[in-house]
């Protein structure tokens, strides 16, 4: 496409979405970073300016580090970060444990079945995420479906406490994010050459051994992509822990939102966001590498 590469309209075509993303995606992070060094005050907006202006010239820059110091001294924040990382990691692991066999079975079925099953996996994704999380309240409550069924069957004699537990949050996250694990895994497993497994079988490898030595290593890019697609947003998850989770241990997304809405402390909320981004920057960059390779490998 030499002609297109030199055409005069080209810079304009690139500039339009570029400008949009710089203004609405990149600049906002700079603003969050800036405000995280501001002092809170009772006004609108509720933070002090960083630069003091005198006679139209910047006279002094006031960087206020107390927001960050506060995050490290109050145990609430550290424990919320650690808890969020743990919840995201455990949920990602469960997504993998449940999603991998499902994907494997789909990738090994006939083409008609494959399309039907993939549609069944994606279909819930198109219905409301919020309502799917809500559905679990009805199942997990003390007088919910699960407890009623178990009581009626005589398995238990007193209702189990399932709501507002770690378990409920894991279930909510795994349930909502499972398609994000399955789809990249499927894109990977589908490409495997079946003759590799035939060769392994011919050489006397049992199915399990062939799986561990051939399929599993080949599917690592899919595992990485799917895991990051679950793990990164799960760390900052807000809706699921708010509806299903514990009240004595908050996740960091909830802390950020409480700082912002309930305490109206925009600088601390910004500092919480910046620390979360620092935690996630390595996984996000890894995801970008995997994603770029995936999209460019098909050319």
């Amino acid at each position: 496409m030499q002609a297109l590469r030199k055409h005069a309209g080209r810079p304009i075509v690139i500039a339009v979405p570029y400008l949009w993303l710089v203004v609405l995606f990149l600049v906002p992070f700079v603003i969050v970073f800036k405000i995280s060094f501001s002092e809170t005050r009772l006004a609108m907006p509720p933070y002090a300016p960083l630069i003091e202006w005198r006679d139209g010239v910047p006279a002094a820059v006031k960087l206020y580090f107390a927001n960050y110091r506060f995050l490290f001294t109050d145990r609430l924040y550290i424990s919320a970060y650690l808890y969020s990382l743990k919840v995201a990691a455990v949920s990602t692991l469960w997504c993998l444990v449940i999603g991998y066999p499902m994907t494997y079975a789909i990738a090994r079925s006939t083409i008609v079945w494959r399309n039907l099953l993939l549609m069944l996996i994606v279909l819930p994704f198109w219905t409301s995420f919020l309502l799917r999380v809500y559905a679990w309240i009805g199942l997990l409550k003390n007088n919910g479906v699960i407890n009623n069924v178990l009581l009626a069957l005589g398995v238990i004699h007193e209702p189990l406490t399932l709501m507002q537990t770690d378990f409920a949050v894991y279930v909510g996250i795994v349930y909502s994010y499972l398609p994000f694990m399955i789809l990249p895994l499927y894109a990977n497993l589908e490409k495997h050459d079946p003759t590799l497994l035939e060769a392994a079988a011919d050489l006397g490898a049992r199915p399990w051994r062939a799986f561990v030595r051939v399929t599993l290593p080949l599917s690592i890019p899919g595992i990485v992509a799917g895991s990051l697609l679950v793990f990164i947003p799960a760390v900052g998850e807000y809706v699921i822990p708010s509806l299903l989770g514990r009240t004595d241990q908050l996740m960091i997304g909830r802390v950020l939102s409480d700082e912002f809405f309930a305490n109206r402390d925009w600088p601390v909320a910004s500092a919480v966001a910046i620390l979360m981004l620092i935690l996630l920057v390595v996984p996000i960059m890894l995801f970008q590498r995997v994603q770029r390779r995936e999209l460019e490998a098909r050319v």
Binding site: P17, T127, L131, G138, P194, G236, Y238, R298
Partner: protein, 281 residues
């Protein structure tokens, strides 16, 4: 090749895990009892929650607002996302390409609270500096939704274009077609299905969003997910079950129609290309 019993059992259990909650929610939407999870066999099934839902003014107004926001956001996201997809798939190397690609993939995984907070602070700062956008409301929600949904459109378009090689476009260029003509006669028809599914994806994401909207919405503009979220935070309520059932049915119908349509388009295109090959021989 056959898969083992292990993975097939896993598939069945996994699908049950995905569908049992939705089915249970749908069943209980016909339950007479206010206690959502206790089946009142004597007076069920009933449609009373559907009646109360459809006469609930705030919910209907919020739903109408959400539809308009999602349609506007999806349209904006398709325009911008399609350009990004084409630029990344077809424009070759240029300065700042890595940054563009990073700004496109990062929103796919960015936690919603961070996106919401950063966009709100942007809007507040902009209002201070240039007086626009004045206050928060429908406009700021749409701008925010365009920004986080356009990445999904871009990825859909990019992977669709990656599936075709550039020879068709190159041939048209060699024959003297201008870039605009190449785009409208070749690239656009190739990616029309991807544009359609990108629009639907963006619409769904916007329609569904509660976290980003909560940050950037003004006091006067409440979208449907915001209403549902504040309702279900207080516990289960049966008319939400009715709402969920309606949404599942609409989505299932929509997917059925679109998959029939996609199949028809693919079939027609295959037939046309076979005819073209036959005509050349």
């Amino acid at each position: 090749m056959k898969s083992g019993y292990f993975s097939r059992t896993g598939l069945v259990i996994g699908l049950a895990f995905l569908y049992v909650p939705i089915l249970s929610m749908m069943i209980f939407s016909f339950n007479n009892s206010r206690l959502v999870t206790v089946w009142d066999a004597a007076h069920s099934p009933t449609f009373k929650w559907y009646v109360s839902l459809l006469s609930n003014g705030p919910i209907l107004r919020a739903a109408w607002l959400s539809i308009r926001v999602a349609a506007a956001a999806a349209t904006g996201a398709v325009v911008l996302g399609t350009i990004v997809g084409i630029v990344l798939a077809r424009f070759g190397p240029f300065r700042g390409r890595t940054l563009l690609s990073a700004m496109t993939t990062a929103p796919l995984v960015m936690p919603e609270v961070i996106t919401g907070l950063s966009l709100l602070l942007l809007f507040v700062t902009l209002e201070q500096l240039i007086g626009w956008p004045r206050g928060r409301g429908v406009l700021t929600i749409i701008l925010a939704h365009i920004t986080f949904t356009m990445s999904y459109v871009a990825v859909v378009i990019q992977s669709r274009l990656a599936g075709f090689d550039e020879s068709l476009e190159e041939a048209a260029m060699d024959l003297g077609a201008r870039p605009v003509t190449v785009f409208s006669r070749i690239t656009l028809p190739l990616i029309i299905p991807a544009i359609a599914s990108g629009w639907l994806l963006a619409f769904t994401l916007s329609w569904d969003d509660v976290v980003v909207s909560q940050f950037v919405a003004g006091p006067a503009s409440t979208t449907l997910p915001m209403v549902i979220f504040s309702k279900v935070r207080l516990g289960v309520s049966p008319d939400v079950n009715a709402l969920a059932t309606l949404m599942v049915l609409i989505v299932a119908l929509g997917i059925l129609i679109s998959s029939v349509w996609m199949r028809a388009v693919t079939k027609r295109r295959e037939r046309e290309s076979q005819l073209a090959i036959a005509a050349n021989q």
